[in-house]
């Protein structure tokens, strides 16, 4: 694309199931566009050089670093962010499992991690621990030591495999 640096381009994309419009310069990062123009502040920016994984979103269903993509590259695509996971104000099984297993503290890395997990469990429905840890190696979490995250993902995979209902999934191992 050859557009002057300051010329803003019309962008249309599907964000969390809704068609959204905005204008961005050619150099605008996708993460900035999603956060500041479209209001998806659940997308977090942690390093802007593709290491920490906090800004991970799904682009046409594939987990991608939104700090390494330009907004113009997302034109015409489907973008899913952490805001898409809860339905009718109810958190999905993965989100609930994260809470049960204390898989987050400050929560800043969490939205990116959830999006990678969403894609991963579709690709690898019955992972072992080493596979989960390998998938998580694209994310930095400084609070939890990853234990709760690994447990939550493995538990959700097991539950989905055995077809356990959402009801059972929300049983709280930590709570009384």
């Amino acid at each position: 694309m050859h557009a002057p640096a300051e010329q803003r381009t019309e962008i249309e994309l599907e964000l969390n199931g809704e068609t959204r419009h905005g204008r961005a310069e050619p150099r605008t990062q996708l993460c900035d566009f999603l956060r500041h123009d479209l209001g998806a502040t659940g997308v977090h920016v942690g390093c802007e050089h593709g290491v920490c994984g906090a800004c991970t979103v799904l682009v046409d269903g594939v987990a991608s670093r939104s700090c390494l993509m330009l907004a113009v590259q997302a034109d015409g695509r489907r973008i899913d962010t952490v805001e898409s996971l809860a339905r009718d104000d109810v958190m999905n099984d993965l989100q609930q499992a994260f809470s049960r297993h204390h898989a987050l503290q400050c929560g800043f890395c969490t939205s990116g991690i959830l999006m990678s997990c969403v894609e991963f469990l579709q690709r690898v429905p019955a992972p072992d621990e080493a596979q989960v840890r390998d998938m998580l190696s694209g994310h930095l979490c400084r609070c939890t030591g990853y234990t709760g995250i690994v447990r939550a993902v493995l538990e959700v995979a097991r539950q989905r495999q055995s077809g356990e209902s959402q009801q059972n999934a929300s049983e709280k191992p930590y709570d009384v």
């Binding site: 956060r35 502040t41 997308v43 390093c47 802007e48 204390h102 929560g107 840890r133 998580l136 400084r142």
Partner: protein
């Protein structure tokens, strides 16, 4: 024990339950409100910071004209503006005229130091303009190494100070000189603790506003406290403190101490807003964060222990240098003094000598970082305790046990003044050994070693201080300076509970959390006291100094929440309950003592009952029905400060923290001989953190801290080149543990409630940042049999420690005979003076036990004949190390005048032989000069190392033999320790002759 699935709260209440977090509901949906997510006022501008590429340079000129000409750029803030409007930051030590401004005004002193601020209509344009600002520098020689910086000929960072040592203090508790004099053994160690950072994933954010009408700076930032720094910021902004309104956002993306350092940017963006005449927002990026936010303090520590024959440590000597970087930024030099009361760790050591020096170098200013001061201190202390065991040939566990503070001594006043509140260290150690499978781990190590693996076990015991005394930093001042400045002490915590007209409960705490779950725990505490559902309570953790209750100790640091803040919440809840009970009792004409609170009701057993909201609502809707002593409305603020946190006394005793948890850790590591990678085979961490308010959150804190500590031990270092360039500038250079590297520790607990906090809780979040690095280091030392362990233990560093073990020659191939080319390869002489008579020295040398102890690397010594031994000795030359089957012989015996000590041996590396003729000369004072002439001859591959290296290696090895002999005779190293030399020097200066 880390599975809390069946655990219930104490007495079936809410405190002590593993309640899942209320915070999670928003955070998991992406609905957290972090600083960069909040709405900004219309017209808000964006800042980018021009930073120094030099570690040390004079700033000759700043020309922003081209930048200002760029479309969208609105203003540039320079050092000139700052000098006009602001002040330098106040410094915590007296007598050091160091000036630290929020922008460089004359010199830059570290790479990344802010030089000016570009303010533009959006962040992209502000960053575009950075390269258009022309800054002329005159580069100066930098100094990076703290020991070199302390030397007299070092380049000076702050000319007005005159040197780089900005604070030096000496402390003496008990009678350390006497203890060292009488000690059977002296053990010393010198260690370095590297720079690192717990690296939150959210970086710094500041939104500055300036109101010219009132002169108020209104600034939002993800600052973490301590709010004592509010005074520092107000002073730097040159306003009265009520004119700095500092606010925090509802959520913060981690801090671990690091977001204390945002204070300089709070000031900077306040001034930027003033310059631009509009609100200014700055969001730090990761590259800025790594090079210019904050870091742990690197330390050089020289330590010595006086040890009796049984391994009991009778005295400790610390000689420490803290490298605080380019400026002493508040609260430094707190890295030293946070730990001052507990410098003797978990041990009952009564004699202590300390020399603390704070130096400046051309690095990023240091500051709070989880475990603040503890990682540094315990790395030195617990490496030393390990070394005591090694030198005395004792089990490290045994040495630790013999020195622990006894269980019946609590509360125990340490030599330097800490009041260890509670604990049973010996029982906690036993619990950890039993439930963590210590015996099995030792067997595992022995099996691994039998299979030829490099396997080691490390241990450490740590006292984890929490709830800092706000006066501890004044220990850096002399008693006289303190008297002048006025006493500082205490740690005021704050909580407010408001109940609205319909009975809705809102709690406010000034603890500014970054993910620790304060909202959940505060709700648990209030729910238990008021008998309501914790989920019905809303807890607000935003802090606005313009309208919320706060004090200097507010903020999130020194693990103060569970002990202090939750205690204040409890106190406020009790105040509310007392008022409600009074109201209900008046309505029912009953005794207030009999009013109960449970299940959302207020009632009297077998008597009247009302909904909680009805009783609470009375205070709003029908004040005329209230008892006479009730004013109406319902809102209670509690301030709480512990009386035990007193100011330092004139003898420099300081109770630096209110609570002291206890941690006993051990681990087994296996080291890959080929790659040098350290694999943590098992890690056990046992904590006594007093009463646990929410065990799930406690384990979360332990796991998180442990994983950060794993990074400190094995991966992380803020590295600088000799020219001061920053070598860890991206997350690809500064490696952090990811999920595959993370290790699952076995977490064990015991609970000895603190008698000093309202709920019996102590801090717990920082302990593993203190214990884990040194525990792993001790295990690596054990695996490799090395003393010189430095962090991080990266594969390349560990590979260097392993050295090259030469494999045996292939079968059938005879090793080459040593080439003999006319006489020995090396010949030299040396001497050492020993304070004992020639006869004593002579007898000692002839003792086989002595011989085994003085030969470096001697694994075994077996008597073969009269004065002849077979020995198994490992000798290292440079990277090459070889195990020799050797013969050692004593001959030419002429007691007590002379003898010959000779040895020869073969290894896969070749052959070596040596012989020393030793003459004992009696001196006038009855001491003995031991003169030795030696020859060394080598052959085979070992000879290929080269003459010069061999010469120095032989000198060291032979020197070690005779120095160890001298040490064995006197129980101390020859030549005198640093302390003795210092005392002698001081005595000479004072004209008192030799004080030692």
């Amino acid at each position: 024990m880390s599975d809390h699935s069946t655990e219930t709260g104490v007495d079936g209440g809410y405190i002590g339950r593993s309640q899942t977090r209320f915070e999670d509901q928003a955070l998991l949906r992406g609905l957290g409100r972090y600083a960069d997510d909040l709405a900004t006022p219309p017209g808000t501008l964006h800042a980018a910071v021009v930073r120094s590429p030099h570690a040390h340079a004079r700033v000759l000129s700043v020309d922003a004209s081209e930048a200002l000409a760029l479309k969208g750029v609105r203003a540039v803030l320079t050092g000139e503006d700052v000098k006009r409007w602001a002040h330098p930051f106040p410094v915590g030590v007296r007598g050091a005229p160091m000036e630290h401004w929020c922008l460089a005004v004359d010199k830059v002193r570290y790479v990344g130091e802010p030089v000016c601020v570009v303010i533009a209509e959006d962040r992209y344009r502000a960053e575009d303009a950075l390269e258009l600002v022309r800054v002329q520098y005159e580069p100066l020689k930098p100094v990076i190494d703290p020991e070199k910086a302390a030397a007299e000929d070092a380049p000076v960072l702050h000319e007005a100070v005159g040197g780089n040592v900005v604070n030096e203090r000496h402390f003496r508790y008990g009678d350390p000189e006497k203890a060292f004099e009488e000690a059977a053994h002296r053990v010393s160690i010198k260690v370095r603790f590297p720079r690192n950072s717990c690296t939150p994933i959210e970086c710094y954010v500041v939104v500055g506003q300036y109101q010219p009408a009132t002169g108020v700076y209104d600034i939002l930032s993800n600052f973490q406290g301590p709010y004592a720094l509010h005074s520092v910021m107000a002073r730097a902004l040159n306003v009265t403190s009520n004119r700095l309104r500092l606010r925090t956002p509802p959520d913060s993306g981690g801090s671990f101490g690091i977001k204390q350092g945002v204070l300089t940017y709070v000031v900077l963006m306040g001034l930027a807003a003033r310059k631009a005449g509009a609100p200014v927002k700055w969001v730090e990026d990761r590259l800025e964060h790594l090079q210019a936010s904050s870091s742990a303090t690197n330390r050089v520590a020289d330590m010595e222990a006086a040890v009796d024959a049984d391994g009991r440590v009778t005295a400790l000597r610390y000689d420490q240098i803290d490298d605080c970087g380019g400026y002493l930024r508040a609260p430094e030099p707190a890295t030293f003094y946070r730990m001052h009361g507990n410098l003797t760790g978990a041990y009952g050591i009564r004699n202590l000598a300390v020399r603390n020096r704070v130096v400046l170098t051309n690095k990023l200013p240091s500051g709070l970082n989880r475990g603040f001061g503890g990682g540094q201190m315990y790395f030195a202390l617990e490496r030393l305790m390990h070394q005591v065991a090694r030198q005395l040939n004792l089990d490290p566990l045994e040495v630790m046990r013999r020195n622990l503070v006894p269980a019946d001594a609590f509360p125990y006043r340490t030599a330097s003044g800490a009041l260890l509140d509670s604990g049973n260290y010996a029982d906690t150690v036993d619990l950890a050994l039993r439930d963590g499978g210590y015996q099995e781990l030792i067997q595992r190590r022995d099996r691994a070693r039998a299979e030829g693996k490099l396997y080691g076990v490390g241990l450490c015991a740590v006292v984890e201080p929490s709830i800092s005394n706000m006066g501890y930093i004044t220990t850096a001042l002399t008693p006289e300076q303190r008297r002048k400045a006025g006493p500082k002490n205490g740690a005021v915590s704050t909580a407010t509970i408001g109940i609205d007209p319909l009975g809705g409960i809102t709690v406010h705490v000034s603890s500014t959390p970054q993910g620790q779950g304060h909202q959940t725990v505060a709700a648990q505490v209030v729910a238990e006291v008021l008998g309501v559902d914790p989920a019905s309570i809303l807890v607000n953790v935003e802090l606005d100094t313009g309208k919320d209750p706060w004090s200097i100790a507010s903020g999130n640091y020194s693990s103060r929440f569970a002990g202090a803040v939750a205690g204040a919440v409890h106190k406020a809840a009790l105040q509310v309950r007392a008022r409600l009970a009074n109201i209900a009792a008046t309505m029912w004409e009953a005794d207030a003592e009999r009013v109960r609170f449970a299940d959302g009701k207020v009632f009297i057993e077998d008597g009247p009952s009302l909904g909680f909201h009805r009783v609470a609502g009375t205070a709003h809707w029908s004040p005329a029905l209230l008892p006479d002593n009730e004013s109406g409305g319902l809102r209670e603020t509690a301030f709480w400060t512990p009386p035990q946190l007193e100011a330092p006394d004139d003898d420099d005793h300081i109770n630096s923290s209110l609570c002291h948890g206890f941690i006993f850790d051990y681990c087994g590591v296996e080291i890959d001989r080929v790659t040098g990678e350290v694999h943590i085979d098992r890690y056990v961490t046992c904590h006594d953190a007093g009463r646990l308010l929410n065990p799930m959150l406690v384990d979360g804190q332990i796991r998180g801290g442990f994983t950060q500590a794993l990074g400190v031990a094995l991966m992380e270092e803020f590295a600088y080149g000799e020219d001061g360039s920053f070598l860890s500038g991206t997350l690809a250079d500064y490696l952090l543990p990811t999920a595959p590297e993370a290790v699952e520790p076995l977490i064990l607990h015991t609970e000895t409630p603190s008698p000093f906090t309202p709920l019996g809780a102590k801090g717990v979040g920082e302990g593993n940042n203190m214990s884990t690095p040194v525990c792993i280091a001790n295990a690596v030392a054990d695996a490799l049999g090395r003393d010189d362990i430095q962090l991080p233990l990266t594969p390349s560093r560990v590979r260097g420690l392993i050295g090259i073990d030469e494999p045996p020659a292939p079968e059938g191939l005879e090793p080459l005979a040593a080439p003999r080319a006319g006489g020995p390869a090396l010949q030299a002489r040396d001497s050492v003076v020993v304070p004992a008579s020639p006869q004593t020295v002579y007898d000692t040398v002839l003792d086989p036990e002595t011989l085994r102890a003085i030969i470096p690397g001697c694994h075994a010594l077996e008597l073969e004949g009269e004065n002849q031994y077979r020995a198994d000795v490992t000798v290292g030359v440079g990277m090459i190390k070889a195990r020799f089957a050797a013969r050692v012989r004593l001959s030419d015996l002429d007691p007590p005048h002379s003898l010959r000590l000779s040895g020869s041996g073969d290894s896969a590396m070749g052959s070596a032989s040596g012989s020393a003729h030793v003459t004992l000369v009696e001196l006038d004072n009855g001491h003995t000069r031991l003169e030795y002439v030696y020859e060394v001859d080598v052959g085979g591959k070992i000879a290929a190392v080269g003459g010069r290296m061999l010469q120095s290696a032989s000198k060291i090895i032979i020197g070690q033999v005779f120095n160890r002999l001298a040490q064995r005779l006197t129980g101390k190293p020859v030549g005198g320790g640093l302390w003795q030399r210092l005392r002698a020097l001081i005595a000479r200066l004072l004209g008192k002759g030799d004080a030692s």
